[in-house]
Symmetry: D2
DNA sequence: TTTT
DNA sequence: TTTT
């Protein structure tokens, strides 16, 4: 206890979010977010490496992702790391590490692709009244790990 | 480009660090760090969930980890997320997500176990002169992903 | 818009928190938190510098601070920077920068001073059920800047 | 000791950076960075509040700021809080709180104003080889507080 | 496998 | 003094 598990990412979405509406009424949105780093290999060559993060958003935040966040967009994501296990098709235990988002902010001024500007305005209205436009926060709530 | 990949953890080590001295002269230290969260399940019962993070430190930071960080200790870790793939014993591709540490700080005032206070003093001397005692930073350097 | 203003501090309280119960029913708690850095001056001497942060907590978080956080304790504080102005006794405009806390976590295992261990247990019960014991979060709410 | 003092900001520059080249050869760059928050006042009206941060960058990071960062640009800033005192014109002690930057990343894809895209490419070459293009890091060094 |  |  007395622990902290915090992740801060700024990157671009590799695909449109996948959204599922669960039987209990919850919504889950998932997308892959790319961050990049550059380093020199042993030969002194400059190499780019892309890290792909599995971002998951729940409930209200998932619904906002569904409406306003698109492939290619640059976003700020704040959340926590969670590794969960599942059985693959051969019944072997596999692990996947995800970033469970608490807050997602659209960066870059928007307006880059079709309808995005409208999206942002709508987002402002849909959003929690105390948050900034283009910033979406997960309401603190039960966190049931329903996978 | 223009991306951010940052992780901040506070937790306790589940085991002593494993340290390897590579043929090229580099040192790598790895340990598992526990963070805990509490939530209510659908029946309203309070459930604790432990997240285990794979922390990796390189070079000077690894050597400091080897000397001063022990099982059970509470530490602050700042770093970045990196997922790498490897072949398991059945030649299947597997993925593991790690936290590559840039900075590790001992918390809790030390003195909890044998020789720790001495350890901290030695650490201050071993450490980068501009950093705080008990705070260890990775020198920015080539980052060759040698796994 | 689309902005981020986030502060993460780990330090020790310089004094017991000052708590005020406002006429509207709100509670405010304030304390000074010390962080330390070490650097070399131009003569190569090692110098320690203490930074004192003005931390402010509101409502439920303030009440928790009042009950469980004491002078000397090591805490993790997450929040945002806010500079506000006021008139000093000579009617001159002065500025003070504060950290408005969203989350406070007790570090170091507690038990260092009188009754602290009991305090932590009580804290677990008083706390938001989905949070960790020893971690206290501000409920997202109207943020009226009543100073 | 064992402390953390970390600030993460995403905002827009209110003015072009002011850059000074000190007699000792050091360079300092300063700019004001705006972050915004929205809240409801007691009457339920939605109010915007802008927080202005004093950002300071030193040495190589200052030179990069001088070359590539302009008024209006959206940037990510990582650094630490520092409050310093000075004597005002009436010989009264005044305090100012600043964010001493360790890392500055240009956001928003650039290309918004004249020559910015070229600027980014030049920046990549000027920059530390292991960092990302558009991300500029302070080299860890003596930190002499020369104000 | 940690911690309280 | 920024941005949408």
């Amino acid at each position: 206890m007395s622990s902290v598990n915090k992740v801060i990412l700024i990157g671009h979405l590799g695909t449109d979010p996948e959204v599922r509406h669960l039987e209990g009424g919850s919504t889950v949105a998932q997308f892959r977010l790319a961050t990049n780093e550059f380093y020199k290999d042993k030969q002194g060559n400059r190499v780019e490496r892309t890290e792909w993060h599995n971002v998951v958003a729940w409930r209200g935040l998932a619904e906002t992702v569904e409406k306003y966040i698109k492939k290619g967009q640059q976003v700020y994501v704040e959340g926590k790391i969670r590794t969960r296990q599942y059985q693959d098709k051969d019944q072997q235990t596999r692990y996947v590490t995800e970033i469970v988002a608490d807050e997602i902010t659209m960066l870059g001024g928007g307006g880059r692709s079709h309808g995005e500007q409208q999206g942002n305005q709508a987002a402002s209205q849909a959003n929690n009244a105390t948050a900034e436009p283009n910033t979406f926060r997960q309401e603190p709530e039960l966190n049931e790990l329903p996978f």
